[in-house]
Subunit: 443 residues, 2 copies
């Protein structure tokens, strides 16, 4: 049995629930918000991912007998809290940026409206999922934008923990990757899977030629032969000798790629293998992909850098209480005010202002506004511009909007991301370090 | 139902099995090895972690009906391979460095002896688990070594994906952390859990004083009050006013810590709270912990940096076929030889040479040797020195050594790591960039 996601929680969330039940504040109506104080250093935009996974985890977030007895045995909380947890399921509402959308510093990515007890318990699961998946999608989007339309495959399962690998494949796919090496990601999320052979397959055989012949016998000539086990030019010559000029593809996993790839293309063409494509897969990241923009590469395989967020393995999202109210009173904005790490309290709505060409110019955060699909309380956009509403209802009074979950939700997020990328100013895609590509304006 | 870990696999592993079954090489006896070509930039040593988790995953690594039907529907492999997978369980043997041990470039961390088909299928799951857990343990060990005996708590669940969080807590604990915020890590691995309240608990109440009173009412005066929501000196004054000088601890999560902590200690002492301890938790890493060595901090809480390997979120371990043999023939060492990424073929044994003070001086890798607990084929150590065998049998002909699994295995690994840390030369603990603290010698 899969243990309940309710225990993928920090202990302090349950002790806060315990103390709030005792102090009589547990049922206060609250608004929590997930947001990033800043983008990772030098990044111009981020891509929200994880929402679809998160909605399913929130639905499964229940305390069963095994959780309750552990909490009791370990004296984490007391009897009234155990009774509350036994009956807990999230009955509040959550608004959020649609999965696959871009975000900027201060974008109110998720707004959770519920009692204090219901909302505070979701802090860790919300941040775990959104921080990791958003980190991967944000890195993946940069790789896609410099790939010049050539397909990218995610193959980094071995460079992140075994469950994270499946989430990473999904996040990369949402950001525009074409495929994954992960079978579980194929099964769970409907992502196309790819992969043929590693160096071990070549080394297993008495010669490279024998290995190529075994692979072609098994999969036909439209396979991908890995040609760099011993010597690339010799490997290519053998590959075309074995498979003929109709060979599907070669893969190169080492060496100085711009040089090696150019020579490989010349050699393939000279052997008549003009339609044989070249896939490269050697510790690639957005910078090395960009450096191959003039090289005759047909497809990229990316591992470590995409699943670890290309140097930024956590997106830096935080989850804060921003407002509360008693029944029959107004919302009271709240925020930490000491030292660094200042937050902006209050409920928020958000729109992205697009100019007459449909290009994003401002992220407008409307303070004190109710989260809503229609922009509220903002000055009317100038002629030719329009404001795109950014928040969509993800959970309404405990009921998950199923359009955002499962394989359909993943497909939807991928399509949304593709659209949003066309809306960003061209400066967003510069790899060099800089500030967020559009300013966040608070009104 | 938890899906089988068998699908946390890259597609190419199964296509290689498929092609090898057809070419008649699938049953060849093989030796695969997991190792690191280098340590992360600047690091002096690494700490192996993940082994106990990995052994349980290998035991569960089976293809059930749901996996087999997916592979068939998606035409990943053919009928003979499906039949093979239906009956698959790992029946080979695995030797490895004991979990919690140190390692260096080229250390043969894991050696997998099995048929090609059985061994190649484990590549991704082995690397996923070892790369992530080792990354966390290696970073955690650096933090422990600069903490001067003061306890560290892992609280980074929110900064890594939701399952990785549990593995991270375990790896940090093995490397010497004292506790975790993760309830699932407490339940699954028996790690002490900690945590009391966040800023949201303070903000929920009408005043900081009311929040402190609620927490003390719930948990007694021996609790930890978070004093930096509004103003630290005012927070400390209120905390001692509410809980009295017997207050257990205060927590500070922001600001210039050396300054703030020194002032906090003076203030607490002046209020008579001389036994009230100070916990700090603000984006700490090994460098900021070291910078607090002269500060009156009593405990550290570490999040992002430990669960993301402090800048090195994947340990860079690779898994390579290093030798094979047919029945009745000798082992044939094999290795990729082109361009960069060269490997050293052949089976290996390894010992760590300790000098007369018990300090590690060399990592000795014995080429062509059978993995064995007793050092083989090495020249006898000089007088006063000794060679510690590094490889232990983890799985023998498919049977897992249970001593290394579960909570007992985690406890064992933690104890082993503590011993190994005392064996490393003192230069290992310098935070500045440098080479591996001992050389790897191949014989």
């Amino acid at each position: 049995m899969t243990p309940s996601p309710a225990f993928r929680t920090d202990r302090y969330e349950l002790t806060m629930v315990d103390a709030a039940i005792q102090s009589g504040r547990a049922d206060l109506e609250c608004m929590f918000e997930a947001f990033a104080r800043r983008l990772p250093t030098g990044r111009r935009y981020g891509i929200v991912a994880g929402t679809g996974r998160l909605l399913e985890l929130i639905r499964q977030f229940r305390f069963e007998d095994s959780e309750l007895s552990w909490l009791e045995e370990n004296a984490v909380v007391r009897r009234p809290t155990l009774d509350f947890l036994a009956n807990y399921s999230f009955r509040g509402s959550i608004w959020g940026y649609q999965e696959g959308d871009a975000y900027f510093p201060g974008s109110p990515l998720l707004q959770v409206e519920s009692t204090f007890a219901e909302g505070v318990m979701l802090e860790t699961i919300i941040l775990s999922v959104l921080n990791y998946d958003t980190s991967v999608a944000s890195a993946a989007a940069r790789m896609v934008s410099v790939s010049l339309g050539r397909p990218l495959a995610e193959m980094g399962s071995r460079r992140t923990s075994e469950h994270a690998a499946v989430a990473a494949a999904r996040a990369a796919y949402i950001a525009g990757f074409a495929a994954t090496s992960s079978l579980e990601a194929g099964r769970t999320w409907g992502i196309p899977t790819m992969g043929t052979a590693a160096h071990s397959f070549v080394l297993l055989h008495d010669s490279e030629e024998e290995a190529f012949r075994a692979q072609v016998d098994a999969f036909g000539t439209n396979t991908t032969l890995l040609v760099d086990t011993y010597d690339v030019p010799r490997g290519i010559a053998l590959a075309v000798k074995v498979a003929g000029p109709q060979l599907g593809a070669i893969r190169i996993d080492s060496g100085d790629l711009p040089t090696v790839v150019a020579a490989a293309r010349v050699q393939l063409d000279s052997l008549g293998a003009v339609n044989t494509t070249i896939t490269v897969t050697s510790d690639l990241d957005e910078f090395s992909i960009a450096a191959l923009s003039a090289s005759p590469v047909d497809a990229f395989g990316v591992g470590t850098s995409v699943v670890t967020g290309s140097g930024e393995p956590a997106a830096g999202l935080v989850y804060k209480l921003v407002a509360h109210r008693s029944p029959d009173t107004e919302w009271v904005p709240v925020a930490k005010t000491s030292a660094s790490k200042v937050s902006i309290g209050g409920r928020k709505n958000a729109v992205r202002r697009l100019d007459e060409h449909g290009t994003a110019r401002q992220e407008i955060v409307l303070l004190g506004a109710e989260p809503a699909a229609a922009p509220l309380d903002t000055e009317p956009p100038q002629e030719g511009t329009r404001d795109r509403a950014l928040l969509v209802p993800l959970i309404v009074e405990g009921v998950v909007d199923e359009r955002y979950t499962g394989t359909a939700g993943t497909t939807l997020a991928r399509a949304h991301c593709a659209t949003v990328m066309t809306e960003l100013p061209i400066e967003a895609f510069r790899l060099g370090r800089g500030e967020a590509v559009i300013p966040t304006i608070y009104r």
